[in-house]
């Protein structure tokens, strides 16, 4: 039986200015999975993530984490936040320490760990994200890509069970975006559940094993990447285009240009192999 680490049941959230960000949203995230939440700007992705971390409290509905209903008690929240890490879209909102080392150490120190353990985690997180050489730099002297990686390292160092990342590749160049997605895959293989939000179908298709499409604060459709992206009707309603790899595959297959005996290609490389 699948163990669901996050179960969201019919949550509603309306901002104080009257914007209804979440309207009866339900979803489940299996432990150890890679989920991509797809949706246009303003579809509620960020609000959903803030709720999953207990930063916003839904006005209606329940969120269960690892089978337990989320409570707003201090201790419960602290425990939740030590198990669910969230990387914000704009690293400038997240980085507040003056130096990279202190920034990455902030989370683990808050967990009350010993200094050696903190250092071990910080060093490891900085190695994984490739920022080990920056540890004494001031955060405001970093480039955007570096800031993004520092923000991710700061969460990884807390070793959460679930890593949530809001628009991980926004404003990054291709090379750094690839590196970050590769990083997420590695973290996932090591056992961490990864949830990302994006509006790029190609990215979602290549990365995730589960796709959730949000529209206006509720789930329009969800399922495995093949099922979702082969559903032309769903894509049309969501205003999404098919991932390029899949679209090309279908055209080529219809024309009989592809060798048989391969599963559905997820990446460009897999598609090219079939030619």
């Amino acid at each position: 039986m699948t163990r669901y680490i996050i179960q969201v049941e019919d949550i509603h959230y309306t901002y104080p200015d009257g914007t209804g960000a979440l309207r009866g949203l339900s979803l489940s995230v299996a432990a150890g999975s890679k989920t991509a939440v797809l949706g246009a700007n303003g579809s509620g992705k960020t609000t959903l993530f803030l709720c999953l971390n207990g930063l916003l409290k839904p006005q209606k509905g329940t969120i269960c984490f690892d089978g337990e209903t989320l409570s707003q008690k201090r201790q419960a929240l602290k425990k939740l936040r030590s198990r669910v890490g969230i990387v914000f879209q704009d690293p400038d909102t997240q980085l507040f320490s003056a130096s990279v080392l202190q920034e990455v150490a902030f989370g683990p120190l808050n967990l009350g760990l010993k200094k050696e353990e903190v250092l071990r985690r910080v060093t490891r997180a900085m190695e994984i994200t490739g920022i080990a050489g920056l540890q004494d730099k001031a955060t405001h002297l970093l480039s955007y890509g570096q800031k993004k990686r520092v923000a991710i390292a700061g969460i990884l160092a807390m070793e959460p069970e679930v890593l949530i990342c809001d628009e991980p590749t926004a404003w990054l160049d291709q090379k750094h975006a690839d590196k970050i997605m590769d990083l997420f895959c590695r973290i996932n293989r090591a056992g961490t559940t990864v949830i990302i939000s994006t509006h790029d179908p190609d990215l979602a298709y290549a990365f995730a094993d589960r796709i959730v499409i949000l529209e206006q604060g509720s789930v329009l459709g969800a399922g495995g990447p093949e099922a979702v992206f082969l559903d032309d009707d769903l894509l049309a309603r969501a205003g999404l285009r098919q991932p390029q790899v899949l679209e090309t595959y279908r055209k080529l297959r219809a024309g009989g240009y592809l060798r048989e005996g391969f599963p559905l290609p997820r990446t460009r490389e897999e598609l090219l192999q079939m030619l």
């Binding site: 914000f88 003056a98 730099k137 001031a138």
Partner: protein
């Protein structure tokens, strides 16, 4: 601001124990203020200049600017001290026309103004030294070691970080306005400036909310913990500081 910070973070003295740097700057500052002697002030100014140019690797051009900068407030300030109402004619060597009672500069008031000027210059250079060699993190570390209340250190740390965030946003808003001809005439320049100030305020408010989220998401519970930096103390530096203190004290007592 940014310039100072860049030097503090990249300069040759970054690796020196921050406690030593703070002690050096604080000792020189206190001695210059305490003795209020021209000799000591000049000595502090020269020592700081030598350290900044010689060891901290501050380029000569920047040094020149640093010397000139304080004069913007020192000249008007010292003029106000130098100009006094004259008790009787003849004591002053410079008298302003058209004033009654007479206003002018006497030998005493000039001496006082010079003393204040030199003392201020010495004090400013002590702070220059600190600002150009010690990154804020290290300073915060020293503050903690000196048992400064946690709230003060944190307030300082957040203020420091947000100066850059705010300056950055201000610059971005300015660019956005300028690219749409927001500063082409005096009229619309004022209007744009108003928009910039309002935008900056709203934005800062929004940012503080996001920061709260970011802190809470990482289990913040009212305290900013830090890792120890592990600086190595240097006997040579301590000796040099002690030597400077003795030298300045002797100068202050003799002259």
């Amino acid at each position: 601001m940014n310039l100072f910070d860049r030097y503090a973070n990249t300069g040759a003295l970054k690796a020196v124990h921050p406690g030593e740097k703070v002690c050096f700057a604080a000792a020189c500052l206190l001695l210059a203020l305490f003795f209020s002697s021209n000799h000591v002030s000049v000595a502090v100014f020269l020592i700081m200049s030598a350290v900044l140019l010689g060891r901290a690797g501050v380029p000569f051009r920047l040094y020149g600017k640093l010397v000139l900068m304080p004069f913007f407030f020192l000249i008007p300030g010292c003029l106000a001290v130098a100009l006094v109402t004259l008790p009787a004619a003849g004591t002053a060597f410079f008298v302003l026309p058209f004033f009654s009672p007479a206003v002018g500069i006497t030998a005493q008031s000039l001496a006082l103004a010079v003393t204040i000027l030199l003392r201020s210059l010495a004090a400013v250079f002590c702070l220059y030294f600190l600002a150009l060699t010690t990154p804020f993190n290290d300073l915060a570390w020293v503050m903690r070691k000196a048992r400064t209340p946690e709230a003060v250190v944190e307030l300082a740390a957040l203020t420091y970080r947000f100066i850059f965030v705010l300056a950055d946003t201000g610059a971005r808003i300015y660019t956005a306005q300028a690219s749409r001809l927001g500063f082409t005439s005096a009229g619309n320049a004022f209007k744009s400036l108003g928009g910039l100030a309002a935008g900056l305020y709203l934005w800062a408010y929004h940012r503080s909310r996001l920061l709260t989220f970011a802190l809470e998401a990482r289990c913040y519970h009212g305290r900013f913990p830090v890792l120890d930096n592990g600086f190595a103390p240097s006997a040579g530096n301590r000796l040099a500081i002690a030597g400077t203190v003795v030298l300045l004290t002797v100068m202050g007592l003799v002259f």
